[in-house]
């Protein structure tokens, strides 16, 4: 019988390790959340609101529908509404998204809290897996349920799947239906800090119809929010921007942010230097994205470089935003699988491991390395892998 090469054992073991790690966290997260069922309040077994950050979406939806859309920016109003929803005193949480996202979550409070939480996470997860399945048409695509960004998004009760749907879906549609694909990309403007590289990529790739779609969708969404919610929430949002920027200076959040800025701050670099290095990285990554889009390689490379660039270029992202990084994993993983690039597959699994340790939990013997920016390192390594595997200039749409 032909012996099995050692790297295949290693690959199989890593895969099993990562599935069981993600599975453990999903199980424990579900158990902790379900602990609030049947209680008089909605605090879960870890004493935070069931569904974590989702409480802000649901409460904002209720306040916007029953009081006024601008009231979601009021600390007192939101604190009172959250106390009423949760049935216990919790630290107040205010809304700090643009009114465009308020428009998207507006229907959430039409359903009771738990049903709404399940609908939100369930429907966005289905969309996310559908997109992943289209990028990597393999029966194992459902394993992305255990992807660190996906597990984090479940644990945080957040919008990472939605961002991945807009980015991945838009890129998938772009080549055949440029305006429609661009429109989907434009919806990512609900998180401007994740969307600013998109127009640069589209312009560099001379994808004018997609760019028109993206600009139209972003402007249409802003106008729709203006029409439905009025001018007041926009004024409050703009007034509130300094508070949001202030979140970058809170050390307790750095460990949850997979950005270069937060990684440097956590490593003890001074804020000024960290910001300067982040800016340099933003410009550098922006140039790489523009260059790759100008060369017009096939979608897996354009998409992977843009998705990785989105997180590497922004100073403001959280662990659940890493759901976006499932896109380059699916694209690069599928290319590695199709072409028999076993080393790439193992590298992707190792990057997945580092991200899991960073965003879910560092194994106890490695606790001393808890502040090491594993995820940032993994993202940079993936960008290099994508660039290394970029098709040769002769195979590309444009000469360099």
């Amino acid at each position: 019988m032909k012996p099995i090469p050692a790297y295949l054992y290693f690959r199989l073991f890593l895969l099993c390790y990562l599935i069981s790690l993600g599975g453990f966290y999903l199980f424990i997260g579900g158990y902790v959340t379900a602990g609030s069922l049947g209680k008089s309040d909605l605090l879960d077994l870890s004493n935070k609101p069931a569904g974590s950050d989702f409480v802000v979406y649901w409460t904002a939806s209720k306040v916007a529908r029953t009081q006024s859309p601008a009231a979601v920016f009021s600390r007192e109003t939101m604190a009172a509404a959250e106390r009423e929803v949760i049935g216990a005193a919790i630290p107040p949480r205010i809304w700090n998204y643009p009114p465009t996202f308020l428009l998207m979550v507006l229907p959430l409070s039409l359903l009771p809290y738990f049903a709404s939480l399940l609908t939100w996470l369930g429907s966005t997860f289905c969309g996310f897996i559908y997109v992943i399945r289209r990028l990597a048409p393999h029966r194992g695509a459902w394993l992305f349920l255990f992807f660190p960004g996906a597990v984090s998004n479940f644990l945080y009760g957040q919008n990472g799947f939605l961002s991945a749907i807009f980015l991945g879906g838009g890129l998938l549609l772009m080549d055949r239906h440029p305006f429609l694909g661009g429109s989907l990309l434009g919806l990512l403007s609900y998180k401007p800090q994740l969307a600013f590289l998109i127009p640069i990529a589209l312009a560099a790739g001379r994808c004018w119809r997609a760019l028109a779609g993206a600009v139209s969708a972003a402007a249409g969404l802003a106008l729709a929010s203006l029409f439905w919610l009025g001018l007041a929430p926009w004024v409050s949002f703009l007034k509130n921007l300094s508070l949001v920027a202030g979140l970058l200076e809170r050390p307790h959040l750095w460990g949850k942010m997979p950005t270069i800025f937060a990684g440097l701050e956590q490593a003890g670099v001074s804020p000024g230097t960290a910001l300067a290095l982040q800016l340099a990285a933003t410009v550098g990554v922006g140039c790489v994205v523009a260059r790759v889009w100008y060369l017009a390689p096939p979608l897996p490379w354009r998409g992977s470089v843009l998705a990785l660039g989105v997180i590497l270029a922004t100073p403001y992202a959280f662990a659940y935003d890493l759901a976006i990084i499932a896109l380059p994993f699916a694209w690069l993983g599928w290319e590695a699988y199709r072409n028999g690039w076993i080393v790439d597959e193992v590298l992707l699994l190792l990057a997945w491991t580092l991200m899991a340790w960073w965003s879910l939990g560092i194994p106890r013997p490695l606790a001393w390395a808890a502040n090491f920016p594993f995820t940032q390192a993994a993202l940079a390594a993936l960008l290099f892998l994508a660039l290394y595997r970029l098709p040769q200039p002769a195979q590309l749409g444009r000469s360099p």
Partner: protein, 42 residues
Amino acid sequence: MKKMVLLVAVVLSLMINLTALTYGGVDLGKWQVFGTEPEKPK
């Protein structure tokens, strides 16, 4: 043979994760951005 290798990999990874999580502990209270009180500035 293949099934045996798969079984060993599954059992081994479950044991490693279970040991690491039991030994290291899981703090699920930390999975939130909103509502976390800021620490004192450095």
